[in-house]
Structures are given as C-alpha cells and as structure tokens.
Symmetry: C2
Subunit: 213 residues, 2 copies
C-alpha cells in the first residue's frame, strides 16, 4: 500500500497539458496565423505603391527634358522613398504586435479552458479561476454544468450504494443477534432490491430534462 504513494506525486499528468509547439520566437502556429491580415495588407500596399506610384513618378522624372524640373521631381521622389518605407515598416510592426498580443490572449484563455476541462476529467474538486484578461466567458457555465453533471451522477450512485450498505449492515447485525422471520427478511431484502432498481431505472431516463433545477 505504501509503495503507491510515489505515484500520487506524479499523478495528474493531464493537469498540465503540454503547451502547443512554438513555431517561431516562442509563438505557436495559431498565434502566428493572426499576422497574416496585417502582412497581406502591408505587402499589398508596398507592391502597389512601387508599381502604381513610385514607378510612374520615376518614369515621368526620367523623361523630363528640363533639368530643373527633373531635379525637383527627383527630390519629390526621394522624399517619398525616405518617408513611405519607414512608415510602412512601423505600420507593419505595430499592426503585427497588436495581432500577436490579441492572439496570445486568445491562446492563453484557450490553454486555461483546456486546463479547467482536464481538471474536471480527472475529478479535481476545485475549479481554476478563468484566465487573466478574461475571454470565452461562454465556457464558464459549460465547465460548471460539466462539474455539476459529474457530481450529480456520482453523488446519486454513491448515496444509493451507501444506503444499500447501511440497510444490509442492519440486517446482518440483527441476524447476528437473533433469528429473523423468513417473511420479514424477504420483505426487507425485497425493499432494498426495489430501491436499487429505482436508481438504475432513473439513469435510463434522459438526463437533459432534469439538468436544470
């Protein structure tokens, strides 16, 4: 009996689910996927600016016969280059950071939900508080109803078994003390059988209707 105690230390292996495989810089594939809209947005803008704005401007400047005007146009183009690319870089980094922060929040809330569900599955009595920053509150009552359903069934069965045990113990005690009339014994034991039958029968009815008090 005593050599099962080390097991309890390493028990609940499911309490701590392995975090999702980090794909890049500690971010999971789910988190990195959130970068796609910003990346597509900035990528498209960069390409379109080159093709539809900078390239035509460059061509106009190159074809300009007047040297002064060509110089002014080149200045204009230089200003555009110097300002547009840093701005696009800042926009991409800023948007990407927002996207990553939000998806990390979601990933954290999901990990917490997973942990809470695993606790229910191993019969942990205590729930965890939801993740910091909230998220997925629609699952709060799901976790509660899972716990409730678990306990309801288990408690009802345990109560029935306990009752049977108590009743039978009483009969055994009486038998130890004195002779019990056959008819009475049949009635008592028949009563216990009926009780057990009632519990087993009630399991067969759909549980859905009885969930809500």
């Amino acid at each position: 009996m005593t050599d099962t105690s080390p097991k309890t230390d390493t028990a609940h292996p499911q309490l701590m689910p392995a975090p999702p495989e980090p794909l890049f810089l500690g971010y999971s594939a789910f988190e990195l996927r959130s970068l796609l809209p910003v990346a597509a947005c900035v990528g498209f803008l960069s390409l379109a600016l080159v093709v539809l704005v900078i390239f035509p401007m460059q061509r106009t400047a190159g074809r300009e016969p007047n040297a002064t005007i060509r110089a002014v146009l080149s200045d204009n183009l230089l200003l555009l280059h110097l300002r547009v690319w840093p701005l696009l870089a800042i926009a991409a980094l800023g948007g990407g950071a927002l996207a990553l922060a939000d998806s990390r929040r979601t990933a954290r809330a999901l990990a917490r939900l997973e942990q809470r569900l695993r606790r229910v599955a191993i019969g942990e009595a205590e729930d965890l508080p939801p993740a910091r920053g909230g998220g997925f509150t629609q699952f709060d009552d799901v976790v509660v109803s899972l716990r409730f359903a678990f306990e309801r069934t288990t408690r009802r069965h345990r109560a029935a078994l306990q009752q049977v045990q108590d009743n039978l113990k009483r009969v055994v005690l009486r038998l130890a003390e004195q002779e019990v009339p056959r008819v009475e014994l049949r009635k008592t034991l028949g009563g216990i059988v009926k009780e057990v039958e009632a519990v087993l029968d009630s399991d067969r009815k759909p549980a859905g209707g009885k969930m809500r008090p």
Copy 2:
C-alpha cells in the same frame, strides 16, 4: 407516464447554446476585435502619409515660384492622391476580410467545442465531428477523456448496483423457496456489504493515476 413524452421533445435545452450576440453585420464582438490590427495599421498609414508626405509636397508645390514646375508638382501630387487612397482602401478591405474570415473560423471551432462539451454534460452518448476546417485539435483528447471519465465512473457504479441487485434477488428467491440457515445468510449478506464497501472505497482514491490505462 405518457404525458412525460412531450418533455422529451423540448429536452436538451443546452444542446443548442445561444450563438453569441452579433454586434455588427452579424459579427460578434470577438470576431470584430480581429479587425483592430488592420484598422490600426491602415489608419496610422493614412494619417502619417497626410502629415509626412502629402502635406510637405503640397507646401513645396505652393511655394514654387515657377508656374511650369508648380504644375508638374501638382500633377505629381494628384497622381499620389488618385493612387494612394484607393490602394489604402483596398488594403484595408482585403486585410479586414482576411482577419474576419480567420476569426470566424476560430469562432466556429469554439462554438463546436462548446456544443461537444454540452453534449458530454447532458450525457449524450454520441460525440459530434469537429468543426469543418478543423481548429483546436488539442481539445479532441480533452473531450474524449471527459467522456471516458464520465462513463468510467458511471459504469463502475452501475455495475456495482447491478451486482448487488442480482445477489440480493437470488437470496430473496431462496428465502421464498425454503428456510436458509442464519449463518449462511449472514455470510452472504456480509459479502455483499463488503463488495459495496470496496466500490465506495475505490472512489476515494485519486482518479488521476488510474486514468491512463
């Protein structure tokens, strides 16, 4: 007995959880939140382009004494206006559409997960297939282990109750037929009590270590 059947029709109220309140154009707050990075990115770019590119170019053109050069610069500026704003609009719409599509996929996978968990909670025997397009596969084994834990406890209790019932029925039948010696009765009933005790005891041990086969 027969008038309980209408109840079964309206049973399982938790099977179909109310979809999250749509906030705008049928999109929930969770889905709309995914627009933030793209909106911030494009918003910043628009503002910065006006302040750091278009405004300086306009000032340069306005201060230009040479009418020809001023006209060329104005042409340049017009090209910029005509190309940049539509491109920004397209980038915003495209990025926003990608973000919404991705967050809708996530929301759908979450709704499906919620439905599957609710089915476990009301004791539905059958699982649902995961959402189309997948997502959150890490929860698949959580749902399985919840079902397993549920069934394991329930089945063990039910088996114990069934066993008790069968044994007691046999005793009652024998009592109906003939007199049973007191000592034998005590032994038989005591054995049943012990069996019940074993089941109740095993519940008290931590379930975690036994979950994995």
